[in-house]
Symmetry: C2
Subunit: 405 residues, 2 copies
């Protein structure tokens, strides 16, 4: 008997009608003889509503309080979905993060899962029921409610799938029917990818493809949990995310990813002495802010300029840290470029094909697109460019690497 862990995001459970349809979908699979676990996000808009209310009391509420507050969003949608499933005549029980046994560290708002005590989950499944788990949350060893940060519900689903040795983790999306070669809103030619490797998906998520959060893909890759991304309210094959196989390597580039959600911070006139980068990025890492690209331009007078990019949401906090360090080390100035564009190409085929970077740079140059920063890995090349040129760049690269339908 196979076991599937379903995950439904906020828009998929965004109304009474949608929750009823989700219940139908889950129960239809259950009635085929599948064992089912469901993970849900808060109803669309609820997390924002709670956050805004909290901010009407304080611009910066404590993370501990915010975790306790926001965890209610997922608890509520889990209860609603459970009641909807019960109404269809199938036993279901909603579980809070704590009740689902999700034990995390104590890093509020960005907690990491330490382990999952699956006793209660197995009890419900064993009795023929469907556990409906409030995503995004867990409990620390100190009995505090924690949240897992962005993409937390995806992570909950993958972690539970691994802990229960599920056959697959099915991520249901209301807005897309799978993983695409590029964002269709940016590149009209983009097409669904039927099958993609963990490493490519990981790069794509890290680069800003919103379909799946990279932490979830990372965990799936580590434990080889097969993920399927399918549409919530339609039939559709979706995209299967699995271990890399031979045929994937025939494609040089699998996808072109655009990202408008990064900011660039530059420390100008940094004295050229060792250990400064370590200071800055050590302190930023402590805040759990992910630094994406780093560049250092050696200038005159033994001074250098140091630029790095961070998610826009973290830019203000990162700038404060940068300014503090700039002060201490006698740098001239800190500059924040709040909106930059990042364009990337991803593909496992790059490993065995040379010249991909050159083709990319040439294609951008042909369109008069200036490259500000470059970063590469084994299977991806990213360029920071002006945000305004992002759309043009994406369409050009999608065509150059022959990704269209």
């Amino acid at each position: 008997m196979s076991l599937s862990v379903y995950k439904f995001g906020g828009t998929s459970v965004g109304s009474v009608e949608k929750i009823k349809k989700v219940a139908d979908k889950v129960v239809a699979d259950y009635r085929k003889g599948t064992k089912v676990v469901v993970v849900v996000s808060a109803m669309a808009g609820e997390t924002d509503r709670l956050t805004k209310m909290a901010q009407s009391f304080s611009p910066n509420p404590s993370r501990r309080e915010m975790d306790l507050l926001l965890s209610n969003g997922e608890r509520v949608s889990a209860s609603f979905l459970t009641i909807a499933i019960n109404t269809l005549g199938v036993e279901a029980s909603s579980l809070t993060g704590r009740q689902a046994g999700i034990v995390t560290d104590s890093m509020h708002s960005k907690a990491r899962i330490k382990r999952i005590d699956v006793g209660r989950l197995n009890e419900i499944i064993g009795a023929g029921g469907i556990p409906v788990v409030a995503g995004f949350q867990g409990i620390s060893e100190e009995s505090e409610v924690t949240t897992l940060g962005r993409g937390g519900s995806d992570l909950t689903a993958v972690a539970i799938a691994h802990a229960l040795k599920a056959d697959q983790c099915i991520i249901c999306k209301d807005d897309v029917d799978g993983v695409y070669t590029s964002d269709p809103a940016v590149v009209p030619d983009a097409r669904r990818i039927p099958r993609i490797s963990y490493v490519e998906m990981l790069e794509m998520s890290g680069l800003g493809a919103k379909v799946l959060h990279s932490r979830a893909v990372e965990m799936a890759a580590k434990y080889e949990v097969p993920i399927k991304v399918i549409p919530t309210f339609e039939e559709g094959e979706g995209t299967l995310i699995v271990k890399e196989d031979k045929r994937m390597e025939s494609e040089i580039v699998s996808a072109v990813i655009t990202d408008k959600n990064q900011s660039k911070i530059t420390l100008l006139g940094v004295p050229d002495s060792p250990g400064i980068a370590a200071q800055i990025f050590g302190r930023i890492a402590k805040k759990n802010i992910v630094v994406d690209m780093i560049i250092q331009n050696v200038g005159g007078n033994n001074k250098t300029d140091l630029s790095f990019t961070v998610p826009q949401d973290d830019a203000a906090e990162a700038k404060v840290i940068a300014e503090d360090i700039a002060d201490k080390i006698g740098a001239d100035n800190v500059k924040l470029d709040p909106k930059i564009g990042k364009i990337s190409v991803v593909g496992v085929g790059m490993r065995s094909h040379s010249g991909v970077a050159a083709r990319m740079f040439q294609a951008l140059a042909d369109e008069n697109i200036n490259i500000m920063m470059i970063s590469t890995s084994e299977i991806k090349i990213s360029c920071v460019i002006s945000e305004k040129q992002l759309k043009k760049a994406a369409n050009v690269l999608h065509k150059v690497f022959d990704l269209g339908a």
Copy 2:
């Protein structure tokens, strides 16, 4: 250093502005050197909103799910108030029922508090902070979230005040500034009572005075926790609820209570054999429905009519039980009178004064008010009358027993 447990109901925390004022009030007392614990209800309307949403999935969702769902309302308001208090520069931590150590039995939707593990509460208070507890909820030994039923937040506050040996439990009300001799909406002459005994308050709450739930008063009486009922947003002496003392006995009647929230159920043509009352009321008690008044009229043919009153909300359920039993024992019929009026007078002075009942019945008779059922205790007399005559009856009795200002 004195310790006060404050409780704020749904309307007192019904908006951002109100929550800020509540934070001001609590912090003002804290800054005078009082140790403070706060218990809050869900924001006004929130419990209804969640309940209605749940009912759009099922007319009768499981109690276990409803408890988990509704508990979020109080958790959210506790978080908001905590953030508001923190903003004033005072350390506060919101606590769920579980985190506040409130352990209950497993009777979902009407759980009873078994004990309070005060470790966490004392830890926060000891560190100079203010614990803000989500009222109305607890956790069972099986780790399930439970709710305490109507008046649950009052009960939470009194139970915590007892467990912490607090000097007083302060119930803050948005709609009244204390306990009144009668409902001012019904009796314009009604006046605030500065000081009243537990036993009187208990009768008044049991009779439908909405200012305090009887379970909370009962617990306060049992452990002699002084309760103060004061207005949330104004200055005011309010009403102190304490152990009976000499001067209270000089008043024969302390208050006139009206109640429109009762229903009457009558079993017609019940065979006059022993054990039938036990059957009915045993089964109703098992559902945790409180039967208020019971009357049995012996008729002809060895048959009797049996009438009893229950809260309107429980009437449908009680009727189903009554019909089932009527079937089994061969009674003729079950009749539900969904809306009746109950008028009561309460006073510890009754113990030492005779003739109160006679005066009450005469006053009602003078106004042509027909009495359908009568029930008495040492310190109260209640009559069921037509709901339409309730207002007139209340004003007459308020005058007859000289309760006006």
